[in-house]
C-alpha cells in the first residue's frame, strides 16, 4: 500500500535539545495512526515539521511518494495536511465562525464579507461534528473544552487529506470524545489519514489502527494496535514497566476538617455548593464539561468573586477575596489552563517554580537567593522528571506535559494545607501520571487536604477517597470512593438536571 | 451679567513673557473694572487650538477680544464673525494681516533683534563669528528675531560671520544642549544670540558648563536667570520688550474701542537694550520681570 505521508531520518535540534533523532513515520490513507511517547518525546515537534511550522534539520518527507518540504502552514495546507495544535491558538475576540473560516471568509464584491454565509458554512461544519454551538458566539466566552472543539472544526474545514490531532481530547469529556471519535470514523472511511496523539491509553485501543512509539526523540517501533497489548505499548514508551496500584482508601473520618465550604454561589455557574474536605483526604470532583467545578475552585481561591457563601479553613471562617488571601490561608490552586493562568511562559523554569513562594528565597532586604532557587528547581526537575536542558530554560520551550509538571512543582513548593488540582494530569504521559498519582497520595498521607477536579472518570475513581459530583452549578451528590462506586453512579449524578438536591447517604 | 468681559487669546501662557503680559492685562482690568481671561496654547505651533480657544471665547459674549495671532490668516473667519457681531478685536504681540483689528499693541521684533546685532557687533569690534540659538523656526516672533538679527549682520557687518543657527524650542534644557553642540563645533566662537528667555538661558548654561571663554552673549526678554547672568557679567546684555505694557495697552485699547473711541492702529510698546550699566534704572526695572 502506498503511503499518504512518509517521513524518514528526520532530525531536529533546538538549543540544548536534540529533539528528534533519525525518526521515521508513515501514514496510510484511511487509517488512524497513533503517535505515542512520554512528555517531551518529540511528538509535537515531529508533527510541526510535517505541517510546515518547523523546518527539519535533516531527513526526507514524501507526500504521495513525491519529496516535499513544506515551508509554512500554507504550503502544508496546500498539500492537504491540517493540524490541530496541542496549545490552543484561537482569536479570542472573534466569533467561532470567524475563527473557523479565517482566511477563507465568503466574500461579496469589493472585499465585503458575507456574514450569513460564513455562519451558515460554520454551522454546517459544527453540525457534522454534532457540536451544538452558535457560530456567532465569541470564543473568549467559551471554556477550553469548547474552544478545543472550535479548533477541531477549523482543521476540518480545510477538508484535509491528512489530519494531525495533537492531544485533541485533553480538554474534552467522555461525551465529547465519543462525538469526536464518530467524526474520526467518518473521516477515516473517506480515506483521510489521521495522526492521533494522546496520553489517554484507552483511546488508543478504541480508535487507532497502528501505533508509532517515540522515546527521547528516537523512533522505537511501529505496531498494530489491535494485536499489541496496552502494557506492551506503555513499556515501549517508558522503557520500563508501569504498575497500576489499586487505591487504598484511608479512614479520615476522624481527621479535622481542613476546608469547609458552605452555600457557595455565584450567578448561574455555582449554586449553593457545600462540602468539606478533611486533612489527609482526597476529594475528587467529577462532572460534565461546564458543570462548574472550575468555578467553585476559583471562588474558593479568591480568583473570582462570590455572591454568597462561607469558606472555613481549619474551622475558622476566612474572608477570601484574592488569591493572595487564599494562599495566605493555606489554599493552593492549580489551574486547568496552564498557559494562561499557570505559568509565565517566557520566564525560566526556575523562576516559575519559585513564583508562588518567593518569600522563601528573599531576605529581609528583598534580595533573592538565586542559589537556593536553583537548588530547589533542580530538585523538582529530578523529582518530577521534568524534561528540560536546564532550570534556566524558558518554560515556553518545554513540551506541554513538562510545562504541566512545572506548575505542579510550583505548588508542591508552596506546601499548602489545602491543594486544589484542576485537571492535574492534562497532557501528562502515562508514566508521569502514575508518579503524580503517587505524589498526590503522598501529600494526602502527609495530612494535606487534596481536591482533584478531573474530567477523566477513571482518574477520579482511581484517586478519590470521596467523589463530589456536580451538574449545572449544583453539587448533586457526594459518593464514597473505592471499588463500590461505579461509573454509572457518577454519570447519573452528573446528569441529574432536576433541581432536587440529592446527597447520597454515606460518609461524613 | 452686566460685567464687561474681555478674553485675551495669547500665543502661550506658561512662559514668563506671557505671564508678564497677563500681569499687565490684569492691572488694566483692575484699573478699569472689567473682567478678563487670559489663555493660550501650549506651544506656538498649535494654530488650530488657538482658533478653538477663540471660538470658546466668542461663546461667552465678550465685550471685546484681545488676540495674539499664531497665524495671521487662519483666524480671520472667526475674527470676521466677531467683528460682524460688533465685538472689537485688539491684536497684541504680533499683527493680523487684515483690517479687522482696531489696533495692534506690539513690539517691533525685527528692529529689536537688529539692535541686538548692533550691540553684538559693538562688542566684537565688527569682526568675528557668531551663532544664534533661536526658539522657533516657524513662529512669527522666532522668524522676526532671527531674521532681524541675521539681516542686520548681513547688511551692516560683513566681517562678522554667522556660523550656525539652531533651534531649542525655547526649552532651557534643549537650548543648553544645542548651545553646547554649537560651541563644540565652533571652538573659536565670539558671540551668541538667544532669541528668547529659554534660548538665552540655554546659552548661559552651556557657556557655564563648558567653561567657554570669550563668548559674548546677547539675550532677549528678561527673567531672573537672565538678569542674574547680566549682573554676573556672563551675559553682555539683552533686549527686553515691554510685556506688561503690551498687556496693559491691549486691555486699555479694547475698552476704548468698545466705547467707540478712535485708536491709532499700531501701539508700539517699545523695546529696550539693558546691560550691567542700566539694569537698575527705573525705566528698565519697569519692563523687567522675574
Amino acid at each position: 500500500m502506498s503511503y499518504l505521508v512518509e517521513m524518514k531520518g528526520i532530525e531536529k535540534r533546538f538549543p540544548g535539545v536534540h529533539a528528534l533523532k533519525n525518526v521515521r513515520f508513515d501514514l496510510r490513507p484511511g487509517e488512524v495512526h497513533a503517535l505515542m511517547g512520554e512528555n517531551g518525546a518529540g511528538k509535537s515537534t515531529l508533527m510541526k515539521i510535517m505541517s510546515g511550522i518547523y523546518a527539519r534539520d535533516g531527513g526526507e518527507m514524501f507526500v504521495d511518494g513525491n519529496p516535499v518540504t513544506p515551508d509554512g502552514p500554507r504550503a502544508a495546507q496546500d498539500l492537504g495536511i491540517g493540524i490541530i495544535h496541542q496549545e490552543l491558538s484561537l482569536m479570542n475576540d472573534l466569533t467561532a465562525a470567524q475563527n473557523v473560516l479565517i482566511g477563507r471568509e465568503p466574500r461579496k464584491r469589493l472585499g465585503r464579507l458575507d456574514e450569513p454565509e460564513l455562519n451558515r458554512q460554520t454551522a454546517e461544519i459544527f453540525a457534522s461534528l454534532n457540536l451544538d454551538m452558535d457560530p456567532r458566539t465569541l470564543v473568549s466566552t467559551q471554556t477550553i473544552a469548547r474552544q478545543q472543539l472550535i479548533e477541531i472544526a477549523k482543521a476540518l474545514s480545510y477538508n484535509p487529506r491528512v489530519l494531525i490531532m495533537d492531544e485533541p481530547t485533553a480538554a474534552l469529556n467522555d461525551a465529547e470524545i465519543t462525538e469526536l471519535f464518530k467524526v474520526i470514523e467518518k473521516l477515516r472511511s473517506e480515506g483521510v489519514g489521521i495522526v492521533y496523539i494522546s496520553h489517554r491509553m484507552d483511546e488508543i485501543k478504541r480508535i487507532a489502527n497502528r501505533v508509532t512509539i517515540l522515546r527521547d526523540g528516537a523512533y522505537i517501533e511501529t505496531v498494530e494496535a489491535a494485536d499489541t497489548p496496552l502494557s506492551k505499548i506503555i513499556q515501549l514508551m517508558v522503557g520500563r514497566e508501569v504498575t497500576q496500584k489499586a487505591p487504598t482508601i484511608p479512614d479520615t473520618s476522624q481527621s479535622p476538617v481542613a476546608l469547609e465550604v458552605r452555600n457557595l454561589s455565584r450567578g448561574k455557574e455555582v449554586r449553593g455548593v457545600s462540602f468539606d474536605v478533611r486533612k489527609g483526604e482526597i476529594l475528587g470532583f467529577a462532572g460534565l464539561m461546564g458543570a462548574g467545578r472550575t468555578e467553585v475552585a476559583r471562588i474558593i481561591f479568591g480568583a473570582d468573586p462570590r455572591d454568597e457563601g462561607e469558606i472555613l479553613v481549619a474551622g475558622q471562617p476566612i474572608d477570601i477575596r484574592t488569591p493572595h488571601a487564599a494562599v495566605e490561608a493555606g489554599i493552593g490552586y492549580l489551574s486547568e489552563d496552564r498557559k494562561h493562568f499557570g505559568l509565565a511562559v517566557d520566564m525560566t523554569v526556575r523562576a516559575n517554580v519559585a513564583m508562588a513562594h518567593m518569600e522563601e528565597f528573599t531576605n529581609r532586604a528583598g534580595v533573592l537567593n538565586e542559589a537556593a532557587m536553583k537548588e530547589t528547581a533542580i530538585g523538582y526537575i529530578s523529582q518530577l522528571g521534568i524534561r528540560t536542558p536546564s532550570d534556566m530554560q524558558a518554560v515556553r520551550l518545554l513540551s506541554g506535559g513538562n510545562q504541566q509538571k512545572v506548575v505542579i512543582a510550583k505548588w508542591l513548593l508552596r506546601d499548602c494545607d489545602v491543594l486544589i488540582f484542576d485537571e492535574p494530569t492534562r497532557g501528562i504521559d502515562i508514566g508521569a501520571k502514575s508518579e503524580i498519582y503517587a505524589l498526590l497520595e503522598d501529600l494526602a498521607a502527609q495530612g494535606r487536604a487534596i481536591i482533584v477536579i478531573s474530567s477523566e472518570l477513571p482518574e477520579v475513581m482511581r484517586l478519590s477517597h470521596r467523589i463530589a459530583v456536580m451538574c449545572e452549578g449544583r453539587l448533586t451528590g457526594i459518593l464514597p470512593g473505592g471499588e463500590d462506586t461505579t461509573q454509572e453512579q457518577i454519570m447519573e449524578l452528573a446528569t441529574q438536571r432536576d433541581s432536587a438536591l440529592r446527597v447520597a447517604e454515606d460518609v461524613l | 451679567q452686566d460685567e464687561i468681559y474681555i478674553p485675551l487669546i495669547s500665543k502661550g501662557f506658561q512662559h514668563q513673557f506671557w505671564q508678564a503680559v497677563k500681569a499687565g492685562a490684569d492691572q488694566a482690568a483692575a484699573e478699569f473694572g472689567v473682567r478678563i481671561t487670559f489663555e493660550g496654547p501650549d506651544n506656538e505651533t498649535m494654530v488650530d487650538r488657538q482658533i478653538d480657544m477663540l471660538a470658546a471665547a466668542l461663546a461667552n459674549n465678550p465685550a471685546a477680544i484681545g488676540f495674539a495671532a499664531l497665524d495671521s490668516q487662519a483666524a480671520i473667519p472667526l475674527l470676521r464673525q466677531a467683528a460682524d457681531a460688533g465685538i472689537p478685536i485688539v491684536a497684541f504681540d504680533s499683527g493680523v494681516d487684515s483690517d479687522i483689528p482696531v489696533a495692534t499693541a506690539t513690539t517691533d521684533n525685527v528692529a529689536a533683534a537688529a539692535l541686538a546685532a548692533d550691540k553684538m557687533a559693538e562688542f566684537l569690534g565688527g569682526q568675528g563669528s557668531v551663532a544664534v540659538v533661536a526658539h522657533d523656526q516657524t513662529s512669527r516672533t522666532g522668524i522676526d528675531r532671527r531674521d532681524g538679527f541675521l539681516n542686520r549682520m548681513d547688511s551692516e557687518y560683513p566681517d562678522i560671520k554667522v556660523v550656525s543657527v539652531q533651534y531649542g524650542a525655547g526649552d532651557q534644557l534643549q537650548s543648553t544642549e544645542v548651545a553646547k553642540a554649537i560651541l563644540t563645533a565652533n571652538p573659536g566662537l565670539n558671540g551668541m544670540f538667544g532669541t528668547n528667555e529659554g534660548s538665552a538661558i540655554g546659552i548661559v548654561n552651556a557657556v557655564r558648563e563648558m567653561a567657554s571663554e570669550g563668548v559674548t552673549i546677547i539675550g532677549y526678554d528678561s527673567g531672573k536667570a537672565q538678569t542674574d547672568a547680566i549682573r554676573e557679567g556672563l551675559m553682555a546684555g539683552a533686549i527686553t520688550q515691554n510685556p506688561v505694557g503690551i498687556g496693559y495697552e491691549t486691555v486699555k485699547a479694547a475698552i476704548a474701542a468698545m466705547n467707540g473711541e478712535a485708536l491709532s492702529t499700531i501701539i508700539d510698546t517699545g523695546f529696550y537694550y539693558y546691560d550691567q550699566s542700566n539694569i537698575d534704572n527705573a525705566e528698565i526695572q519697569a519692563v523687567l520681570y522675574d
Binding site: 509554512g72 495546507q77 475576540d93 472573534l94 470567524q98 477549523k154 | 488650530d48 478653538d52
Partner: protein
C-alpha cells in the same frame, strides 16, 4: 460583549451603528454627564454656535482618532498621525499653491500621501518587524522634518485656490437647511466615521484588523498573508489621516508645517476613552468618535467656564481617568 458580534445584516446603516452602540452606550453616558454638567454651570455653553464650535473642534481630532482606531485594533499604535496630517497638508499646499493645480488634485494628493506614509509605517511594522511604537515614532520625526523641508519652514496659504477653505468651513447642510449650519468639516467627520465603521465591520480588511489584534500568530498559521493585510490597514489609516490633513489645512486656510506634534496623544486618548483596547482585538469607530467628542466638550466647557488654564489641564487629566474608570466599572458590572 465586543463589537465584533455581527448578525445577519438587515438595514445596513442601522446595523453598522448598532454593531458599535451596544458597548459604546457606556462612554456615551460620560459624554451626556459632561454636557449636562456644563449646561448647568454656564448658560453660555448650550448655544447652537458653541455646539457647532465643539463639533468643529472635534472634526480633526475625530478623524485622527478614527485612523488610529484601525491601527490600535490590530494591536499596534500610531504616533505619527499628527505630523502625518501636517505632511499631507503640506503636500496639498505644494500641489495647489506651488503647482497651481485644481482643487481635486489637492484632495487626491492628501489622501494618496497619507496612504503612502501609512504603507511605509505598515511596511516597517510588517516586513521589518519593528514594533509599531518605534516605527511610527520614527515616522513621526521623519514626517515632521520633511514637512519643514518641503514647505521651506513657512506656512503655505491657499488663497489662490478658491473653495479650498469651504472643505471644512462651508456648510452644505446649511445651504439646504439654513437653521442647521453644520460645517462641512463635521459632515466629513461623520462620513469618514460611517465608511470606516462599515469597512471595519463588514469587510475582509476589517475582519483582519480584529483578527490580527486578537492573535496574529494564529492568523498567520491559518495561511493568511498577514504582512500584506497589515500594510493595507496602515495605509487605510494613513489615507484617513490625509483627510484630516485636508480638514485642518482648510480650516486654517494654510498648511502649517510645524503643527502636529501632540495631536497623536490626544487622538489615542480619544480612542481609549471610547473603549478600544490598546492590546488590540477590540474596539469601535463609534466609541472613538464619542471619545473625541468627550475631549472636545471637556476642553470647550472648561474654557467657557473660564477656568484658569492650569486648572483646565488638571481637570482634563482627572476626567480622562474618571471617564475610563466609569467605563470599566460599568463594563465589569455587565459581565
Amino acid at each position: 460583549m465586543t463589537t465584533t458580534t455581527v448578525d445577519a445584516p438587515k438595514s445596513t446603516l442601522s446595523r453598522i451603528i448598532a454593531a458599535g452602540t451596544h458597548q459604546r452606550v457606556l462612554a456615551f453616558a460620560s459624554l451626556i454627564v459632561l454636557l449636562i454638567g456644563f449646561s448647568i454651570a454656564s448658560p453660555n455653553f448650550m448655544q447652537t454656535s458653541n455646539m457647532l464650535a465643539i463639533l468643529q473642534a472635534t472634526s480633526v481630532n475625530g478623524v485622527l482618532a478614527i485612523a488610529v482606531t484601525l491601527v490600535i485594533i490590530t494591536g499596534g499604535i500610531d504616533l505619527s498621525v499628527g505630523t502625518m496630517m501636517t505632511f499631507c497638508a503640506v503636500i496639498t499646499g505644494v500641489v495647489l499653491t506651488y503647482a497651481g493645480m485644481p482643487l481635486a488634485f489637492g484632495v487626491v494628493a492628501a489622501v494618496i500621501t497619507g496612504a503612502a506614509c501609512g504603507a511605509c509605517s505598515g511596511t516597517f511594522v510588517a516586513k521589518m518587524a519593528i514594533p509599531p511604537f518605534i516605527a511610527t515614532l520614527g515616522m513621526m520625526l521623519i514626517l515632521k522634518g520633511l514637512s519643514l523641508v518641503i514647505s521651506g519652514t513657512r506656512p503655505i496659504y491657499f488663497n489662490d485656490t478658491p473653495g479650498f477653505s469651504e472643505i471644512s468651513r462651508g456648510s452644505l447642510i446649511g445651504d439646504f437647511i439654513p437653521s442647521l449650519p453644520i460645517p462641512n468639516g463635521v459632515l466629513i467627520l461623520f462620513i469618514v466615521a460611517a465608511v470606516t465603521a462599515y469597512i471595519l465591520n463588514r469587510t475582509v480588511l476589517g475582519r483582519y484588523c480584529f483578527a490580527l489584534g486578537s492573535n496574529e500568530e494564529s492568523v498567520r498559521l491559518s495561511g493568511v498573508n498577514t504582512d500584506r493585510w497589515k500594510i493595507a490597514i496602515y495605509a487605510l489609516a494613513g489615507s484617513i489621516v490625509g483627510i484630516a490633513g485636508l480638514l485642518i489645512a482648510s480650516r486654517l486656510n494654510s498648511a502649517q508645517p510645524a503643527l502636529g506634534l501632540g495631536y497623536e496623544l490626544e487622538a489615542i486618548a480619544a480612542v481609549v476613552i471610547g473603549g478600544t483596547s490598546l492590546s488590540g482585538g477590540r474596539g469601535s469607530i463609534l466609541g472613538s468618535l464619542i471619545g473625541a467628542l468627550i475631549m472636545a466638550v471637556l476642553t470647550n466647557g472648561l474654557r467657557v467656564l473660564s477656568v484658569a488654564q492650569e486648572w483646565q489641564t488638571v481637570v482634563t487629566g482627572a476626567i480622562i481617568i474618571l471617564a475610563v474608570y466609569a467605563d470599566m466599572m460599568r463594563r465589569n458590572k455587565k459581565s
